[in-house]
């Protein structure tokens, strides 16, 4: 087995996370994921077309990359307190609603209005809910390593599912997100502190939603697998709410 493609997808996010999170702490985890995932995509596939070019010549995989980079930028700005409160939440949910529309722009051009409402509307709603849920979970979870580890496990699961169901590229892209988050968590070993903020819920929730949607609509991931995977973190996310209700 040639490890080169695997290393191209994994080494850049690992290096970016170890460097940025190692030096600057977990508030830089979104910036590290953005840098690592972008370099991985360029090495694995190609230099992506700019969003301005994608308007006239859409490409779902590249819209996926840019949308998630947008979510990572929002998270970084929120960590830097440039965006706060309702503005930050509103921007995150707006991007989540817009994400499936960008991702499926080209495919949806051939759909009827019914299908567009179902897949883009339903997908957008799912993305909004997942982002909201992750943000809320991270806001209420006990600060520590657990949420980061859960996010890494979740995105690793998505990556394995995508790679096993028809698309190495989508699997490797999602794997790059998981690798960067996992490496960020790994900095706990010498920093002795690691905690995600609610801002990170924006990109974790959106990556989870959009990678699964991309798997279904751009690759051959069965709906049943995608829905089961999308719902899986719901059980874990109920934990702090349950704790709050009983406590």
């Amino acid at each position: 087995m040639d490890l080169k493609p695997v290393l191209q997808g994994v080494l850049p996010p690992l290096a970016a996370a170890l460097l940025l999170v190692g030096l600057g702490g977990p508030r830089l985890v979104a910036a590290a994921v953005a840098l690592g995932a972008f370099v991985a995509y360029v090495l694995l596939k190609q230099w992506p077309a700019l969003p301005t070019e994608l308007w006239s010549s859409p490409n779902g995989t590249e819209w996926l990359l840019w949308t998630l980079l947008g979510a990572l930028l929002l998270a970084t700005l929120e960590h830097a307190r440039v965006l706060r409160g309702r503005v930050a939440l509103g921007a995150a949910l707006l991007l989540a609603g817009l994400g499936p529309w960008l991702l499926l722009m080209k495919v949806a051009a051939r759909w009827s209005l019914d299908l567009r409402l179902l897949h883009l509307g339903g997908g957008g709603l799912a993305a909004v809910l997942l982002v909201w849920l992750w943000r809320r979970y991270l806001q209420r979870a006990t600060p520590g390593l657990l949420p980061g580890v859960l996010g890494t496990v979740l995105l690793s699961g998505d990556a394995a599912l995508l790679a096993g169901q028809g698309s190495a590229l989508l699997g490797q892209m999602c794997g790059a997100f998981a690798a960067a988050l996992g490496a960020g968590c790994g900095t706990w070993l010498w920093r002795r502190t690691f905690a995600l903020g609610s801002a990170d819920g924006t990109w974790i929730g959106l990556a989870h939603a959009l990678f699964l949607l991309a798997g279904v609509h751009l690759s051959s991931l069965p709906w049943s697998f995608a829905v089961a995977m999308a719902l899986a973190p719901g059980l874990l996310l109920l934990q702090p709410f349950a704790k709050r209700a009983t406590g």
Binding site: Q46, G60, T61, L93, P100, H119, G124, A168, S220
Partner: protein
């Protein structure tokens, strides 16, 4: 904030469909799919030549033998018709690692220049594959003509493309599949049905 939940449906309603158009003219021929073939060949693991086919091709060709430079060739191949004798491999080929058929359901060729080259024709055009357009030139030879339930004429072309030109670089790095793909296209053309 709850109104944000309605935004996905607004975005969905705003996306608009597009529609293609088809040419009509004298000296027109159309592809007889049942007697035409599209075969591709790519090196596997730097060891053997692997062959696959596209089972469907359609298109219209305008060709005046006296003035071939005024002609045109438009061909369309549905990606979903790819057949490599392995359903799982075909699904992989249709996915984002290769053709990305859900976004780019057809491989299209539109000629931009036709020139005589001895007994053959040199056809240059844009190959639209996996969402990327790239110019290709092929030498087209006439393989025969005759009458079989109407006039027919046959052509054949062989040419090479680099799949990396179309953003399909899966497996190139580890030599699992070669970058160069040979394409062999055999066309039997019939007169389009008059309306």
């Amino acid at each position: 904030m709850k109104s944000l939940l309605a935004l996905p449906f607004l975005f969905a309603a705003l996306s608009l469909p597009t529609a293609p158009a088809a040419p009509v003219g004298d000296h027109d021929w159309q592809v007889d799919n049942g007697h035409s073939s599209v075969v591709f060949r790519v090196k596997h693991a730097n060891v053997s030549n692997f062959y696959g086919v596209f089972k469907t091709i359609s298109g219209s060709i305008t060709l005046d033998p006296a003035a071939p430079e005024k002609g045109s060739v438009v061909l369309s191949i549905p990606v979903d018709s790819v057949d490599t004798r392995d359903g799982k491999r075909d699904d992989h080929l249709k996915g984002p690692d290769f053709f990305n058929s859900k976004e780019n359901p057809n491989i299209e060729f539109h000629s931009t220049k036709i020139a005589k080259k001895g007994d053959a024709l040199e056809v240059t055009g844009d190959l639209d594959l996996a969402g990327k357009k790239h110019p290709v030139t092929m030498t087209v030879t006439k393989t025969g003509e005759g009458d079989f339930y109407g006039p027919r004429v046959g052509f054949e072309a062989q040419f090479q493309i680099k799949r990396s030109d179309f953003g399909m670089n899966y497996g190139i790095a580890k030599n699992a599949l070669g970058d160069t793909v040979d394409l062999m296209v055999g066309l039997e053309l019939v007169k389009p049905a008059k309306k």
